[in-house]
């Protein structure tokens, strides 16, 4: 609320300020349902004219443990979850202690006075409002349960503080609890109203979001994992197989539940290798199938993915990246699987790697992944991450009638079929599924051994060279088809920030802020990473410096994983890396500070 508007009105002796946006951080334990509060706020924003972006951390412990949810709601475009919170809602002492620093100076801390003893020193910097949330909740819903419902009580407090639309929230609460015992929804509404009508002491002002710009069409609200799962369904995928792992599991749970409605099924396998093998088997049987995991599981799947490259069987693999290596940081974000995705196979095994930039992009990029796999008979790795997986965004509802695909296998008999026809344009051959009658009586074997055009094993040096080139040429043809990414900001200038995947939002916000201050900074987000689209060198040439901003280590030589690929590809000494490994998303200020530092420390070098 740094840009609090000037209009202030008097009501109930309290000032109401119109604000363009607010960042609210809710801190508690994972069983408190704080994600539900975040979900309600995000959904409300989606139903209003507000943009919304959320940020969630979940503990990896089995039950309980600290958990936070941060929601940023704004009337204009919201690109990142926000650097500092305007309001902190703290349920426990540890929530208060650990998250007070995330609040901006002068921000409001709303705490459960039944559990939190505020720090008198901190009272000077932050506006403290204590509410006996736990006891009032128990009081409101008749003393049942162990403080259950205090999340909804807290939602009531926030609704009061931010002048939120009460009927819409009530509606959301009702919808959320439909299907359960009616008393559950009733209790939730009671708790909500208890919070809403609680007399906030010590409050100097209330807030109201400014009207947002009217948007065409309905908004839908979901997280990145949901968008991927529904994207797969829209793309026509009807079979998947996987093994549970955080933060991928939501996708498989959703598909397990949803696919049967579409005549499909999702299989939970005994291990990662079985799941990728089963998905490849189903793809071979004619309809592109999917598997997914996070880093550790992708490593296990690597051999089989190499088979799909060699055998030229389409496949989609989702990698929801988390902090690595090994078990690493299961509930934190990192972009450190790029090398694994692009090069994680033995032998020369070119595959496609694409990375969605936000929740909406998850939906559409997934459909693309399916179609690239089908068109080029190649495995496509959809590289997303923990941050995009768990954050909730609102986006315009897709036109399902137009976008939903039917990819039922075509089993029409063919006269003749060479699965690895070397004469095929660009090396692109189409997979013909079992069940297809072949007039010539010569049937294909798909194989991981180097093979001739019919799929029979060969040790011929010439054929190995030709087939290796065939597998590579397909991706070169794809590269030529890829659109060049847009440059955000001006088409030329001092600094170009290059990012990939989920960092698009904070990087763009950093660019907007820097440009407002008069700096000639632009940015570019890469969706297609392997192969890269053509023409990037021309974009780079229009800037004096190119910084590749990534959530991974600068590595032995100072370049992150994408930066190293770009340097190898373009031999351009202007390409440098800006990296971090704290397991958290980029804050806008961190990006700007890093750029400033880099520019200052190397100013004058290399004739700059």
């Amino acid at each position: 609320m740094s840009d609090t508007a000037t209009t202030a009105t008097r009501s109930d002796a309290l000032r109401i300020s119109d604000v363009p946006e607010a960042v609210i951080r809710i801190a508690g334990n994972s069983q408190d349902g704080i994600q539900a509060i975040g979900g309600f706020l995000a959904r409300l924003a989606g139903r209003s004219e507000q943009e919304v972006m959320t940020f969630m951390t979940i503990p990896s412990t089995i039950s309980g443990g600290p958990s936070i949810f941060q929601v940023r709601i704004g009337s204009g475009e919201v690109l990142s979850s926000g650097d500092e919170a305007d309001v902190l809602l703290a349920f426990y002492q540890h929530s208060y202690n650990d998250h007070l620093h995330s609040l901006k100076k002068g921000g409001i801390v709303l705490f459960d006075s039944d559990h939190v003893e505020p720090n008198p020193e901190a009272a000077k910097s932050y506006h403290h409002i204590g509410v006996p949330i736990s006891s009032r909740t128990v009081e409101a819903i008749g003393g049942v349960g162990r403080e259950k419902g205090k999340n909804v009580f807290a939602l009531g407090l926030l609704a009061k503080m931010f002048h939120l639309n009460v009927p819409k929230l009530e509606q959301l609460i009702q919808e959320r609890f439909t299907g359960k015992d009616t008393s559950v929804a009733q209790n939730a509404v009671l708790a909500f109203h208890a919070g809403y009508s609680f007399q906030l002491e010590n409050v100097v002002e209330l807030f109201r979001f400014m009207e947002g710009q009217k948007r065409a069409g309905n908004q839908v609200v979901m997280n990145g994992n949901e968008a991927i799962a529904y994207g797969l369904i829209a793309a026509g995928v009807r079979f998947g197989a996987a093994y549970p792992i955080t933060p991928w599991s939501d996708i498989m749970e959703l598909l397990r539940r949803e696919l049967p409605k579409y005549g499909g099924c999702f299989i939970q396998c005994e291990d990662e290798i079985a799941s990728v093998s089963m998905a490849i088997g189903a793809s071979y049987a004619g309809r592109v199938a999917i598997t997914g995991s996070s880093g550790p599981g992708i490593a296990l799947k690597s051999e089989a993915i190499g088979w799909a490259v060699m055998a030229e069987v389409p496949l989609v693999v989702v990698d929801v990246q988390r902090g690595g290596p090994s078990t690493g940081m299961p509930t934190n974000v990192e972009q450190s699987d790029l090398n694994l995705a692009a090069f994680g196979g033995h032998g020369d095994s070119p595959r496609v790697v694409i990375a969605p930039a936000n929740v909406e992009d998850c939906f559409y990029t997934t459909i693309e992944a399916v179609n690239i796999a089908r068109k080029y008979s190649v495995p496509v790795i959809l590289l997303t991450d923990q941050a995009i997986a768990t954050r909730i965004e609102a986006f315009q509802e897709p036109n399902f009638k137009e976008i939903c695909q039917d990819i039922t296998p075509d089993l029409t008999p063919v006269a003749d079929h060479k699965p690895y026809d070397l004469a095929a344009p660009d090396g692109v051959t189409r997979h013909v599924a079992p069940g297809t009658r072949i007039g010539s009586g010569k049937y294909p074997v798909v194989t991981g051994l180097e093979h001739d055009e019919m799929g029979h094993p060969t040790g011929s040096p010439k054929l190995h060279m030709a087939m290796t080139a065939k597998r590579r040429r397909k991706l070169q043809a794809l590269a030529a088809e890829l659109p060049a990414p847009d440059v955000f900001g001006a088409p030329d200038g001092e600094v170009l920030l290059v990012g990939w995947g989920s960092t698009q939002g904070p990087i763009r916000e950093a660019v907007t802020r820097a440009r407002r201050e008069g700096q000639a900074i632009s940015s570019m987000n890469l969706t297609y990473i392997n192969p890269l689209p053509n023409g990037l060198e021309e974009v780079f040439s229009r800037f004096r410096r190119v910084f590749v901003v990534e959530m991974n280590d600068g590595g032995l030589y100072g370049y992150g994983q994408l930066a190293a690929i770009l340097r190898a590809r373009f031999c351009d000494a202007r390409i440098e890396g800006i990296n971090k490994t704290d397991g958290l998303t980029w804050k806008v200020r961190e990006v700007l500070d890093a750029v400033r530092e880099r520019v200052a420390s190397t100013a004058g070098k290399n004739g700059h």
Binding site: G263, I273, G281, Y284, D406, G439, P444
Partner: protein, 314 residues
């Protein structure tokens, strides 16, 4: 935003112009039509007989080229798909079963056969053997068990008997061998049979019965490696002075305990169907889940179902 670039795919151009034959017009496939590459196995290898009887099974049961899918992992035995003129896949080491499961679960119209060896099925692929059996995924698995790693030239296999001298146990194998039949029983396999390459009629009978079984059917077929473990199965071969003893006529194939006892007999043991029971297949259970779910969205196109789901996320 990104709706414009979805990589459209042109329809296939290579459709056959000649109208397909009807079922009645088609003749059973002959060995000649089913034979593909000349097998790369050593002369005298037991696997030849499995291949010959597979052709015979396809011919006898009037299965068409396009309706049978042959899957294998890695090993001598697993070269199988190349020798069969039909759709086939040669997958990676140990993973033929999950691959075959993917086909079976998504294509109920196909007959799925997996061919494997003792290393592929019981060592590197051991986990999949147990889980495919317990899930009762419809397919037939024939393991050509030769008690040795042949393709890599004589290392100890999980079924090598104690004392077997290999390049990895020059003093003789010291690890307790696996009993695949007992493992299959413990895992919950619903069809378990044992046969040998030296008795073609019996082998065909077992394959025939396996094909009729609605579920995961497992055949352990002794298949001699003449190169690295010659004579391993002589005591089961009457022509070599051994004894081929069939499962007793009064054996109740649904009696798990009795099957376990038969499976545990010292070599040469018993041949035939040791265990056969009826339990819903994974294929049927998933189909039921699908039918139940679809009955709630009857008459809706996929896009309409998706639309309904999204309506709840507004």
């Amino acid at each position: 935003m990104s709706q414009t670039r979805l990589f459209s795919i042109p329809p296939r151009q290579d459709a056959l112009v000649v109208p397909p034959l009807t079922e009645a017009e088609r003749k059973p496939l002959t060995k000649k039509e089913l034979a593909a590459d000349h097998p790369t196995w050593c002369p005298g290898c037991g696997d030849f007989s499995v291949l010959a009887l597979y052709y015979k099974l396809i011919e006898k049961r009037k299965i068409w080229h396009e309706k049978v899918t042959t899957v294998a992992g890695i090993g001598c035995s697993s070269r199988f798909p190349y020798f069969v003129q039909a759709h086939g896949a040669h997958f990676i080491h140990g993973r033929a079963l999950p691959f075959a499961s993917g086909i079976s679960l998504s294509r109920p119209d196909l007959h799925v056969f997996a061919f494997s060896g003792d290393g592929d099925a019981f060592s590197i692929g051991g986990n999949h053997f147990s889980h495919t059996a317990r899930k009762n995924i419809k397919m037939t698995l024939v393991v050509m068990d030769n008690w040795v790693y042949g393709l890599t030239k004589k290392q100890t296999s999980p079924t090598s008997p104690l004392g077997f001298k290999s390049k990895t146990d020059i003093w003789g194998a010291v690890d307790q061998p696996i009993n695949p039949l007992k493992q299959a029983l413990a895992a919950g396999a619903t069809f378990i049979a044992r046969t040998t390459h030296t008795n073609p009629n019996h082998l065909l009978q077992m394959m025939d019965a396996a094909l009729d079984h609605d579920g995961f059917s497992f055949i352990q077929c002794l298949s001699e490696c003449v190169e690295f473990f010659p004579g391993a199965f002589d005591s089961s071969n009457p022509r070599k002075g051994g004894q081929f003893v069939e499962v007793p006529k009064d054996h109740d194939v649904t009696d798990e305990g009795a099957a376990y006892k038969l499976a545990g007999q010292p070599f040469p043991g018993y041949f035939g169907i040791l265990y056969k029971t009826s339990r819903p297949t994974k294929n049927a259970l998933e189909a039921k889940i699908g039918a139940d779910a679809q009955s709630k969205v009857q008459g809706l196109e996929p896009w309409q179902i998706l639309q309904k789901t999204f309506d709840r996320m507004k």
